[in-house]
Structures are given as C-alpha cells and as structure tokens.
C-alpha cells in the first residue's frame, strides 16, 4: 500500500494531537489497548478523555497537555494509507516541528475558531516553514467549531483572512481547501457532520484524499543526479549513491563533482542484484572504470552534458531558528563544512510574508542572504532539485537555520 505523509501544522492548543487521536479512533486505526491506556490516564489526571494521549506518550506531554516531540500515526483510507506527522505547536520547540514537517508531502493546518484563539503568529509561521520545505498542497481545518455554535460566520472569517496570507506566501488557490471541524467531538472528520448543514464541501479525510488524487505529479526532473554517500569497499572502487533524478545506465559516461572526474559506468547493483540501470529513489552500488579518488562523500554524479554548477557561494532563504554568531558551519548532503559568512540581503517577517526594515537575522523570522562556504560544491536551486538546493546552518554547534537555495 502506498503511504502518503501529512504534516500537521498550527499553533499550540489548536488541536493537532487531538485531531489525529480522534481520527485514529473513528477509523478503527488505534488498538483498544492504546485507547484504554489513554482513557485510564485521562481519568488519573481527572480530565475528560483526551484523544491526544494516544499520540502524546511522554508523561510530561500528558501532564502539561502539550506535545514535546514529533511522532507519526497511520490511517488506512480507501486505496491509500496516510501517515500523519504530529508536531509540537509551541514556538520554543520549532526544531522538533521542522524535523517532523520536513517529511510531509502535504500539510493539514489547524486553526481554532474559538473566540480568543483564531489565527496566531505561530499559525502563519508554520505555513511559511511548510512553503519553504516545498509543501504546496494544504488543507486548513478550522477547528473547535463546537465552541462557536457551529456557525458559518466564524468559519468564513478565518477562511477569508487566512486566505490572503496563504496566497501571499505562494500557495495556489486550487491547492488549498478549508474544512470546518470539531476534532474533540469528531465532527466532519470521517463522517459528514449534521451540525453544519451550511457546509457543502467534503469531510476532512476526503479533502486530504482529494488533494492527493488531484496531484499533477510534477515529479523530479530527467537530468541525472546521484548523491554519493561514500565508498562501499576499502579501495574506493564501488560507490554508494542515491538516485535523486534521472536514470543511471550501464555504459553511461558520467562526471563526478566537485572534482570533475570523468568515468564510465561499469556495473550497477541495486538491493544486492546486478541491474542494467537505476532510477529515482534507488540506492545503487556503482562500479566505475576508473578510481574516483578522495572526498567521495557528498559528491554528485551527473551526466557530462548537464551538470549542476560548482560554486562556493549561493543566495539562500533562511528560516532562522537560533542566533547566527561567528563560528558557522553547514551540513549539506552528508558534508559537514565551514561557512565563511552569511550576509543578509533582506529580512522577512514570517507572520506577514513581507520584507522588514531591519536587515538582521531574527529567531523565528527569515532572511534572504548571500552565503559563502569554505569550499566549492555542486549545487542547484531548491525549486530545480531539492536535494542539491538545501542545507542546514549551525552556529557554535547549535541548530541556527534551515536554508533553501534561491539563486546559484
């Protein structure tokens, strides 16, 4: 069965874990043992039953009523399986949110319709991060409709004001759906709610299903790109590499970058079997007709006519997660290397999507910056080849930002 991954987004306490817990129960996807365990613990804390406890397994998460770290839960629906990635909503836990959301193909954003909750900075920040990570399809679940008497007005006002921000940061209208729900009461999740007759659209699960079914399936490009993990044998004759795009065929002439070594492909092995060619997603063991030399880890294999550029500086968008100090390094496809400088071009407010007056990196906001590495690397723009267009920035060994290359 094909498993589709869905990242949950949204401000803390707007109902992400509760939603997944309720969906697990309504679809019969959680075992009775786990449901009973969650029920027993709710009673122990003298709380009404909390479906979020099916996911929130740490004692601290339950006692404080908040998710600390990301986890996943699976639901089978029609011919697909969904893997829901739960993430913490608290802004101090943004690194855990990014770790989870980075695995999402699409996103479900939770916004509480409840009077004093509504659209918050963290709601918009999560959307901004999702867009940066390359998520382009979205279901917005307007939650806690029960607290607003299931009235159409509260749903419409969230849809209208959030819709503007969503298109400003680059989502297409046709790729975004809004669904009114009550995660705790299970309204409009799997079965159509009788309490919101004014809503003519699909349930939440059907909206998620639809967003996968309608996907144009743009997919990866046809240019050959293989990211090298290293040598398999001690002599360095057999190379382990993952095919990112294109296809590698026996007899192909290839380039190994950044060194620019030329070679011919003698043999390809995938999952222990000799094959004629290897395609996208496959981890190959590749024998070349000449030694590729040192420094293989993080190298890129490409065709000789269509190579990525080899440079030591790029323009990148950086979502800032920590103070950017003096001692910088970046991690880029297995290479851990020094970073000479990060020069800010523009500051971006992640809650509006607009440029700021201040041109300094601020935690939880973004910057567009010129980044200089301590060596030359094969790179591409993130929108062309994700794997060659992204890196993680560390400052004094602390996670300081996620970066996507906007211009080479």
């Amino acid at each position: 069965m094909i498993v589709k991954t869905i990242a949950l987004l949204g401000h803390k306490d707007h109902g992400k874990s509760t939603l997944i817990g309720s969906m697990l129960m309504q679809t019969g996807s959680a075992t009775q043992v786990r449901i009973n365990e969650a029920k027993a613990y709710s009673e122990k804390l003298r709380k009404p039953f909390e479906p979020a406890f099916i996911l929130d397994s740490f004692s601290e998460e339950r006692e404080q009523g908040m998710t600390y770290d990301t986890t996943r839960a699976q639901i089978k629906y029609k011919d697909l399986a969904f893997s829901f990635i739960d993430v913490p909503g608290h802004e101090e836990l943004i690194k855990n949110m990014i770790s989870g959301a980075s695995y999402g193909e699409v996103a479900v954003l939770l916004v509480s319709a409840k009077g004093d909750e509504g659209i918050r900075d963290q709601t918009k920040r999560h959307l901004f991060i999702a867009r940066m990570l390359g998520i382009d399809r979205l279901v917005v679940a307007v939650n806690k409709m029960d607290s607003m008497g299931y009235e159409e007005g509260s749903f419409n006002s969230i849809r209208d004001s959030l819709g503007k921000f969503i298109s400003r940061i680059g989502f297409e209208e046709r790729d975004v759906r809004f669904v009114p729900i009550s995660a705790y009461n299970g309204e409009n999740l799997v079965k159509k709610s009788g309490k919101m007759a004014w809503y003519g659209g699909s349930t939440l699960i059907d909206s998620i299903y639809g967003i996968f079914a309608d996907a144009s399936g743009a997919g990866s490009g046809s240019a050959l790109r293989i990211v090298v993990q290293g040598a398999i044998d001690s002599e360095g004759n057999i190379i382990a590499g993952k095919v990112i795009s294109g296809r590698l065929t026996e007899g192909d002439k290839v380039d190994i970058l950044p060194n620019g070594h030329n070679a011919k492909v003698k043999e390809i092995i995938v999952k222990g079997r000799r094959v004629n060619s290897a395609g996208i997603g496959e981890n190959a063991a590749i024998t070349l007709d000449s030694k590729a030399g040192f420094g293989l880890r993080g190298a890129v294999i490409s065709g000789i006519d269509d190579r990525p550029r080899v440079v030591d500086s790029v323009t990148a968008r950086i979502f800032v997660t920590g103070v950017i100090g003096k001692k910088l390094h970046v991690k880029f496809n297995g290479i851990d290397m020094g970073c000479r400088s990060v020069d800010v071009i523009d500051g971006i407010d992640t809650t509006t999507g607009e440029k700021m007056q201040r041109k300094t990196p601020e935690v939880l906001n973004a910057i567009d910056a010129r980044v200089e590495f301590d060596r030359k690397l094969p790179v591409e723009e993130y929108r062309a080849t994700k794997e060659l267009g992204r890196f993680v920035l560390y400052s004094d060994d602390v996670f300081a930002g996620i970066c996507t290359i906007t211009k080479v």
């Binding site: 069965m1 094909i2 498993v3 075992t31 009775q32 043992v33 786990r34 613990y41 099916i54 996911l55 397994s57 740490f58 004692s59 601290e60 600390y68 770290d69 990301t70 986890t71 996943r72 839960a73 699976q74 089978k76 399986a81 690194k95 855990n96 990014i98 770790s99 980075s102 695995y103 993990q229 290293g230 398999i232 044998d233 057999i238 382990a240 993952k242 092995i269 999952k271 222990g272 997603g281 496959e282 981890n283 063991a285 880890r297 997660t321 991690k331 496809n333 297995g334 851990d336 794997e387 992204r390 890196f391 993680v392 060994d397 996670f399 996620i402």
Partner: protein
Amino acid sequence: MIKQDLNVLEERSIYVIREAKMKFKNIAALWSMGKDSTTMLALARKAFLGKVPFPVIHIDNSIDFPETYKFRQDLAKEWNLDLIVAQSEIKPDLVGSACCGKNKPETLKKVMEEHGFDALIVSIRRDEHGIRAKERYMSPRDEEFRWNYKDQPAELWDDYSSKMDKKGHIRVHPLLDWNEIDIWSYVKQENIPVNPLYFSRNGHRYRSLGCTHCTVPLRSEAKTVDDIINELETTTGEERSGRSMDKEREYVMQRLRSLGYM
C-alpha cells in the same frame, strides 16, 4: 495493520544503514535473534554486497530459549557474522523491568567501552510502542546511555545527528518506519530465516521474543509465515502483550529507554 510498500521501506533502511556505516568510525549492531534485528541484518547484507560490514552484539543473559541459541549459531555461520556475545549476569533480586533496565544496559555499556563503538544500530519500530514512535533515525545517548528526549536534535533532509558527548554514542534506527506486518511480508519475500518460536506449537506462539523469564506465548494457530501475515491483518492485540515488563506501571518504557534500554 497497514501493509506498506516494501520497496520504499527497503530503500530508506538501506540508506540509513549505509549512512551510519559511512558516518561513524566504529559501528556495531544489536542482534537479539528476533525477527526485526535479523531483518535489519538482511538489509545490511543488501546494502553492502552480501556481507554484514559491522560486528553484531548479543547481550546474553544465559536465559534465552534453546531455540534462540541454536538459531544464533546457525545464522552466524551461514551469514558469516562477526558475532560478539556479551555475557550478562542475572541477579536474582532484580525482576521484570528492573532486570531489563539494569542488566542489559550495564552489559552493553561494558562491551561498547571495550570495543570503543561510537554508534549502535538498534532495530526498533515506531508501531511497537508510543515511546519508540518518538525516536529519530539517529539519536545521541550520553556516557550513561541516557536519552535526552526533551531536547532531541533536529533531523531533516537526510541530515542525521552526529553530535555526541565525548563518551556517548549514537543510536541508529533503520527500521523505524516498518510495521510488524511489513517485517513478516519481507521475511516472506526474501526468505529470511526466523526463530522457530514465532510459529505456533500446541496452539501458542511467541509474537515478540525476550528471555525465558519475562516472555509468554499467545494463543495462535499460525504455523507459517503466511499464517502470521493473515493473523496480523485481523488482530486487534498488541505486539508486545507477551512482554511482562511493559505492563508493570505507567511509563515503564519511557523510563527504560531514558536509562539506555534498547
């Protein structure tokens, strides 16, 4: 239970196993002779052209089942494994989770120190337990083997943690994405040898294998791999329901894992 695409699972595991081998200087794997760690070894053989390229450690408390010892001996020979048997001592005053929480990690600490291993492959899966579902593919442990679950490193874009204390190590979890039924489907597809205790005898089989003191068999008529797959498609029970230590008190798994349990 959801059956996932084996190709996708296989590719991710091969990637993670290769990444671990190439990232760290001196890596080893835990092998309990159970279905999961044996499947992991089958994947490692695929990743490294037929040979498991790291030592495998069995924490042996001398009270595993006779079938398990026989299985260890046979497969170690057939797959030419570099097997390290780390003998642990059963202390009569420690029972259940206290035993698992102390004995095995203590012995593991000793063997890791002796060999200077900086990373350890452990074949846990998310669907086994809510606490295991909170793990990363690669996760640091400190010198005392503690898991700082309140402050796990970021993990995204195939960038896995390599940060560790001077004397700590990294736990590597290549099977995190697999479900129990996927393991059995893969055992079938690849014809991977498994411990005979998993199959029904006299109406009972072991679904999860620990040592003789703390593991009980479940009612089952599943005598073949196909029978097990069919059973899992309809079962509503939990995989580790035969493991007594999971049930003692709340959060026993959280405490065990934070103390270095595998």
